[in-house]
Every structure is written in structure tokens, then in C-alpha cells.
């Protein structure tokens, strides 16, 4: 009998030790505790897997009853089945590698212990999310990882942008969580329980409308956590956090929670065709949309961030067309190669002394051959080159999409081409050509500098600002004595070793782990699609075209990108600025709420609206809020008047309602 609770408990213990005593412990001890707790947890997962036939014989363990009142009976229950098994392996496995990597990457940071405490806490919540046997436990993990993500994004708290990004992540996620909590309540009302077992077995018998509503609300939750349209905006900003965080939380684990939830609730989704269609379309739209933005970014982490958003879109596409196992497969392979991409990017950034702008890199293969090698593996995988892990899972999704609706396949293929293009663009820009970071020249990109001089300037400025802090933190005690303007250098082995492991997985993970076959008992294999070989050929071709085109544009013919930018003009500006979605949200949601409340409730009416209206200066927006605005003028008589007005409203309502006044 395996004790499942130990799996999340170990990282939690790590969190407690590092969180409370970390300040007094040496860095070696802190990292030993942090890494060990996760590695041990991984060991436990493996032993659970061995003893349960890798989820063949599901385990369900009840620890204690959490709530029991008036028909509610929610326990602290953990369960392991095949789906959980995959998630557990990914979370603890990749989590261990990233922890090891982080010991190297964060070696010179202030607040080392704090970082690992948060990271362990994250592992605790993530494992809760995965292991929980009911929606409430899932929700606990769900909220918890959101919180940790907030803490970790804002880790460089001296940077204002980091704080803002953390806030943004938290708030956008809250909107998603709102959807999820509604879904949870609806499930509870409909099924009278929150246990996966009870709910999912009863789902086929419930009315379609209710199931559709539940599924759509869950999707809202998932769009928040898994960065789908329209709530994806937080993820690119979340790159303000340290790179291991980006790799662990914003690539491999947390962001896939939405995919996990939808797959877990497959029984509900399968009975709600409208919701399924919505999932597929949201996924596909996100995939394309994010890929186009990815084409234009210069910040290496931003490129990978948009790529993550795009790949998550693929997973949702898979789920939406009913190929749950393909979605999960892609979740796993994506965890391999995207974690690798981020960690590789981290290694590059490390090498360049904190620089993240690809225009200031180049030629790094000379200085960092290992990083270059592993990143090539990851880039091959994400481009879907035959034989790599990404090829198998992406192909499975696209084939299923074709079976569902051919147009989805074609859009997906184009996106795959774009993905290959921008990832390899990043690769060429970083590793090929000449190193551009050493000299004082600030622009190698003449076309760009001329057409978009303003944007570019602002961008560059931001980066130099960010860099100051990063630099100050990460390189003050650098062993090699390099500074920013020196030559790039390879990362230490504690960082490279995990990369090599992941590189192997990125290449071989596809045929080592045939997820759809593994999950066949849970999610029946998709029916055969005609011309499967042809479809496969098309998607391979799209990937290769993307790679070739990027080579052509960024290695062979370097003048071309500038010309294309010029030719595209306004469209390029639009895409480069991420379609101005942030600005749109800012103008339509954030500002009205903040300023609206300021305007409406902050200034008293006595000073503001009435006087203004009397002087004819009252603007339209102000007079709307006029009534509310008077609420807090500080005047006792005004307050009393409100009480009387309230009383009158109540009396009239009750009079009409109670039959007194007819």
C-alpha cells in the first residue's frame, strides 16, 4: 500500500523547512532540501507506478472527511489512475530536473531560500491538483498554483514590471477561477457530489444544457489557467519571473492544468458537443493567433512564451475534437521540449549576462556548444521533424482534427509551419552569425530601426533597464568574471545535465511513450482517418518549410526580414505590438474599473458632479456615476438622507410585493 499523501507532503515539508529556516541555512543545504524533496517525490511516484501497473489498477485513498454537512460529503481523497500517472510523472520528473537546474541558475540570487520555498510550495499545490479525487481538491490545487505563480513571477520584486506582471497573472487567473468555481457549484447542484467517480459516471444521464453550461464554465477556468483566448494575456508577461519558473510553471506544469481538467472531465465534455466545438475553436484560434505574434518578437523568452500559448492551443484543439489522449500526449511531449527551450533560453541568457534581446545575441554556438546542441533538439521536436517527440503528438492531434473537420487540420498545419519558422528563427538568431552583444552598436536591424525607430527604442530601453537588475543579481559573483560586455560562456553542469536529459526526451519521448495506446482504456482510440500518410506528409512538409524559410531569411539572406517588415507596414506593427490586446483590455476593463471607482466613489458629489453640472461642465460619464458618488461625502445629513432613501425604496418594494399598495 503506497501512501499517496507523501507525494505532495514531501515538497510541502521542503517548503516549510526552507520557508521558516531558510534564511539561516547555507545555499547548499537549501538546495539539497528543495531538490531532494522533489526527487524523493518522483521516486515515490515511480514506486506507486510500479506497484499499480502504471495506473492499470487505480488507487483511491481516503484520508479524512473534510466537510460533511447537509448532504455534502467531501473528503480529502487522492487517486491515481493512468491519466494521473502521466501527470504525476511529468510534474515530478520535469519538476526534479528543473529544481536541479535552478540550483545552478539561481546560485547568485538574493532570496535563494525564498525562491526554493515558493518552488516547493508550487510543487505541493500542483501535486494536489493532479492527485485530488474531487473537484474541490482540484480547485485547491488550482488556486494554490495560481498563488505560487504570482509569488514567483513577482520574485524580482525590485522590478516594477515583475510586480505588475504578477498582479496581472493573478487577476486574470481570478477571472478564470470564477468560471471554474461556478462550474463547481453547478456540478454540485446537478450531481450532489464533487467526487470525480460519482460525477463522471452520472454525467451521461444529465440534461445536455446543464452539461454544456458546466463544460463552458470549465473552459473559462481553463482559458485563465492555460492561457487561451481571451485570457492568455498574462502568460507572456509572466516571463518577468526567473527562467526556471517559466520552464516549470509557465511551460511544463501549471499551464497544462486546464488540459488536464478538461480531459479529466471528458465524460461531461463528450456529452456537450457545443462545448467541445468551442474548446476546439478556442484552441485553434489561440494556436494561430499566438503563433503570428511569435513571428515578430525579439525577446527570446517572449518568443517561447507565445509559442507556449500556441502549443497549449494545440492541446485544446486535441481535446476539443475528442482526441483527449492526443492532447495529453502533446502535453507530455510539450513539457519535455518546452521546458528544454526555456531552460536553454535561460542558459543563453545566463551566457549573455542577462540579455534577453535576440538582436544582441548571435554566434553563440561557438561559445555555448552544449546549449546550442540541446536547443537544436528541442527546436526539432517543436517543429515536428519526423521521429522527434513533437512529431508524434502533433501529428496525432492534427489527424484527429482532420477527422473532425478538415479545415481545422489545414489551419493547424499552417500554424505548425509558423511554429517551426519562429522557433528556428530564434535558434538562428541566437546561435548563428556573429555575436552582436559585445560592441556598443545598438542596432543591427537597419530596416527595423528605420521603420519602427520609435518602438524599437522604447523596447531597447526597457531591456537595458531590466538588465541592470538581472545583471546586478546574477553576475555579481560570477566565477568566470565575465560581465555583460565580455564574451558569452557556457553554463555550469548543474544546469546542463538536466538539459541533456530533456534533450534526449524531446527526441525520443514520442516513441518511448505512446500515450494514446497507454490511455486506450480511458479514452478509446480515434477512428482511422483516410489518407493518414498524406496528412502526415503535409504536416512534416509544413514544419520543414518553416525551418528552411527561417534559415533562408536569417542565415542566408539577412536583408530579407527588413524588407518584408517594410512591405507589411501596418500589419507588422499590429502583430509586433501583440495586436494591442493589452491596450484594449486596459482601455475597456482595467481603466474603467479603477478610474470609474475613483471618479464615482472617491470624490464627493458635493465638490464634483453637482457643481460641475451646474457650471455646465459635468461630463456624461460623471453624471452617470453621480448618484453613487455622493455616497461618501462625510456629511452626516447626507448619510441620513441615504438611509431614508434606502428605507423608502425598501418600503415601496415591500409594499408592491406584499400587497399593501396595489
Amino acid at each position: 500500500m503506497q501512501n499517496l499523501w507523501l507525494i505532495p507532503a514531501l515538497p510541502f515539508i521542503g517548503f516549510l523547512i526552507n520557508g521558516i529556516l531558510g534564511r539561516k541555512l547555507s545555499k547548499a543545504v537549501v538546495s539539497a532540501i528543495a531538490v531532494l524533496s522533489v526527487v524523493l517525490s518522483f521516486g515515490l511516484v515511480v514506486s506507486v507506478g510500479l506497484s499499480s501497473g502504471w495506473g492499470e489498477h487505480p488507487i483511491h485513498q481516503h484520508y479524512f472527511t473534510w466537510i460533511r454537512s447537509g448532504g455534502v460529503d467531501i473528503g480529502w481523497d487522492f487517486m491515481v489512475d493512468k491519466l494521473t500517472m502521466i501527470m504525476l510523472m511529468v510534474v515530478t520528473g520535469i519538476g526534479s530536473l528543473i529544481h536541479i537546474y535552478a540550483t545552478g541558475y539561481m546560485a547568485h540570487e538574493e532570496g535563494y531560500y525564498r525562491f526554493f520555498a515558493y518552488l516547493n510550495l508550487f510543487m505541493f499545490f500542483m501535486l494536489n491538483l493532479v492527485l485530488g479525487a474531487n473537484y474541490l481538491l482540484l480547485f485547491v490545487g488550482w488556486e494554490g498554483v495560481g498563488l505560487c505563480s504570482y509569488l514567483l513571477i513577482g520574485f524580482y520584486f525590485v522590478k516594477k514590471s515583475a510586480t505588475t506582471a504578477g498582479n496581472k497573472a493573478f487577476i486574470v487567473n481570478r477571472i478564470g477561477d470564477f468560471g471554474f468555481s461556478l462550474a463547481m457549484f453547478l456540478i454540485f447542484i446537478t450531481f450532489g457530489s464533487l467526487d470525480f467517480g460519482k460525477v463522471l459516471s452520472a454525467a451521461p444521464g444529465k440534461p445536455v444544457e446543464v452539461l454544456t453550461a458546466i463544460a463552458l464554465l470549465m473552459l473559462l477556468g481553463a482559458t485563465g489557467k492555460s492561457a487561451q483566448i481571451p485570457l492568455y494575456v498574462w502568460l507572456p508577461d509572466a516571463m518577468e519571473g526567473p527562467t526556471p519558473v517559466s520552464a516549470l510553471i509557465h511551460a511544463a506544469t501549471m499551464v497544462t492544468a486546464g488540459v488536464y481538467m478538461c480531459s479529466r472531465s471528458a465524460a461531461i465534455f463528450l456529452k456537450a458537443p457545443i462545448a467541445m466545438e468551442t474548446v476546439a475553436i478556442v484552441g485553434l484560434a489561440t494556436a494561430v493567433f499566438a503563433a503570428t505574434i511569435g513571428l515578430t518578437q525579439y525577446d527570446i523568452k517572449k518568443v517561447f512564451a507565445y509559442s507556449t500559448v500556441s502549443q497549449l492551443g494545440y492541446m485544446f484543439l486535441g481535446v476539443g475534437v475528442g482526441a483527449f489522449s492526443a492532447g495529453i500526449w502533446h502535453l507530455m511531449t510539450h513539457a519535455f521540449f518546452k521546458a528544454l527551450l526555456f531552460m536553454g533560453a535561460g542558459s543563453v541568457i545566463h551566457a549573455c549576462g542577462g540579455e534577453q534581446d535576440m538582436r544582441k545575441m548571435g554566434g553563440l554556438k561557438k561559445y555555448t556548444p552544449w546549449t546550442c546542441g540541446v536547443l537544436a533538439c528541442a527546436s526539432l521536436a517543436i517543429a515536428g521533424v519526423p521521429g522527434t517527440s513533437g512529431f508524434f503528438s502533433k501529428d496525432a492531434i492534427l489527424t484527429a482534427a482532420y477527422g473532425h473537420a478538415p479545415w481545422m487540420f489545414w489551419v493547424g498545419v499552417v500554424t505548425a509551419g509558423m511554429t517551426a519558422f519562429y522557433v528556428w528563427r530564434a535558434f538562428w538568431m541566437t546561435f548563428w552569425g556573429e555575436y552582436r552583444g559585445g560592441d556598443a552598436g545598438h542596432s543591427h536591424d537597419h530596416g527595423h530601426a528605420h521603420t519602427h525607430g520609435h518602438d524599437d527604442h522604447a523596447h531597447a530601453h526597457n531591456h537595458s533597464h531590466d538588465h541592470d537588475h538581472d545583471h546586478g543579481h546574477s553576475h555579481s559573483h560570477d566565477d568566470h568574471g565575465h560581465d555583460h560586455h565580455g564574451t558569452p560562456h557556457e553554463s555550469p553542469w548543474s544546469m546542463l545535465a538536466p538539459l541533456v536529459v530533456l534533450a534526449f526526451l524531446s527526441l525520443a519521448g514520442g516513441f518511448l511513450f505512446n500515450v494514446p495506446k497507454f490511455l486506450e482504456s480511458m479514452f478509446p482510440l480515434h477512428e482511422e482517418v483516410p489518407n493518414e500518410e498524406m496528412l502526415m506528409g503535409v504536416s512534416i512538409f509544413a514544419g520543414l518549410i518553416g525551418i528552411a524559410l527561417s534559415y533562408f531569411m536569417y542565415v542566408a539572406n539577412k536583408e530579407l526580414p527588413g524588407k518584408i517588415r517594410k512591405a507589411l507596414g501596418g500589419i507588422y506593427t499590429l502583430v509586433y505590438n501583440k495586436y494591442f490586446v493589452d491596450e484594449f483590455y486596459d482601455a475597456t476593463v482595467v481603466r474603467p474599473i479603477i478610474e470609474g471607482s475613483t471618479e464615482v466613489l472617491w470624490h464627493g458629489l458635493d465638490q464634483g458632479v453637482i457643481d460641475g453640472a451646474v457650471n455646465g461642465a459635468g461630463t456624461g460619464s460623471r453624471s452617470i456615476g453621480g448618484v453613487l458618488k455622493h455616497l461618501q461625502s462625510g456629511n452626516i445629513r447626507s448619510y441620513a438622507t441615504w438611509v431614508v432613501v434606502g428605507a423608502v425604496i425598501l418600503l415601496i418594494t415591500v409594499g408592491m410585493n406584499g400587497g399593501l399598495i396595489r
Binding site: 458635493d606 455622493h630 461625502s633 456629511n635 447626507s638 438622507t641 431614508v644 432613501v645 423608502v648 399598495i661
Partner: protein, 170 residues
């Protein structure tokens, strides 16, 4: 006779109450309020509440209002200034008051039938259960608890007055 007394004292009560609201000087207000209270005492008597009528005069009109007058004198409060304003009171105040009066007045007027065999009428002498004996009996049997508990209330009042109004010793 009932009608005459009711109308007379109801009129005085309302007139004095209006005067409380309209008078500018707090002393005049206080005196008007005493007028209202006194006429209410008469109405209580008509309603058969002898004891309460007495208490109304002795405690309310007497003690409490004297306290008010004392404070007005102590603070040397003059006519109220018309500085400051509350727009909402000006704009929403009167309609809200009219609505309040309308609803409460309507509800109260229709509360009991006024005419017919089931009419509820007040005739002096109909009810004599409000004498000191009945009140005393009720207070010391059924309502013993609230009676005793009001001592806490008074203790708090004394304590509060001491805390807030005493002079600094140092």
C-alpha cells in the same frame, strides 16, 4: 369629547414638532419638543396609559429635556449657521420624506378599520390596564429581566459620560 381632545392635542403635538424642525434657535426647539411631549402625555392618558403619561412628563419632558437645555446653555449655542450643505438632502430629501410619510401614513390609516361594526375606536376609560399597579406587577414578574438589565444600560451611560466629558486630571 374624545374627538375634541384628540384633535386638539394632536394638533399641538404636530405644531410643536414642526416648530422643532423650523425654529432656528436650539432653545426654541427644545421648548417646542417639550410641548410635543406634553401633548403626547395627554394622548397617552386618553389611551389609558396613566403610568406612561406620568413618566413621559416627569422623565422625558422633565429630566431628559432639562438635560438638553442644560447642554445648550453650557455650550452657549446660538442660532444655527447655514454654512455647509448637503445636496443630496436638498434634492432627495423632500421627495423621500413625502414618500415616507405617504407610505407610513397610508399603512397606519388603514391598519384598523375606522368605521363599521369592526371599527377600532379609542374611548377614554375603555382600557384601564396601564396604571402603576399593572406596570409594576409586570415589571417585577414577567419583565424582571429587562428591568434589571437596564441597570447595565444606565451604568454604561454614566461610564460613558464620565469617560467623554470629564476634565483631564493632568
Amino acid at each position: 369629547m374624545d374627538l375634541f381632545f384628540f384633535l386638539l392635542f394632536a394638533f399641538i403635538a404636530v405644531a410643536c414638532a414642526v416648530s422643532v424642525v423650523l425654529q432656528k434657535h436650539p432653545i426654541s426647539c427644545a421648548l417646542s419638543l417639550v410641548g410635543t411631549m406634553a401633548s403626547l402625555a395627554v394622548l397617552y392618558l386618553l389611551l389609558g396609559a396613566e403610568f406612561i403619561a406620568m413618566v413621559q412628563v416627569i422623565v422625558y419632558a422633565g429630566a431628559i429635556m432639562v438635560l438638553f437645555v442644560f447642554v445648550i446653555m453650557l455650550l452657549n449655542a446660538g442660532e444655527e449657521s447655514s454654512k455647509g450643505r448637503s445636496w443630496i438632502a436638498k434634492i432627495a430629501g423632500l421627495p423621500a420624506l413625502a414618500a415616507l410619510l405617504g407610505i407610513l401614513g397610508y399603512a397606519m390609516l388603514t391598519f384598523y378599520p375606522m368605521v363599521g361594526p369592526k371599527a377600532s375606536l379609542v374611548h377614554f376609560g375603555d382600557f384601564t390596564g396601564g396604571g402603576a399597579k399593572e406596570i409594576g406587577t409586570a415589571l417585577f414578574t414577567e419583565y424582571l429581566l429587562p428591568f434589571e438589565v437596564t441597570s447595565i444600560l444606565i451604568l454604561i451611560a454614566i461610564l460613558g459620560a464620565i469617560v467623554l466629558a470629564r476634565k483631564e486630571i493632568d
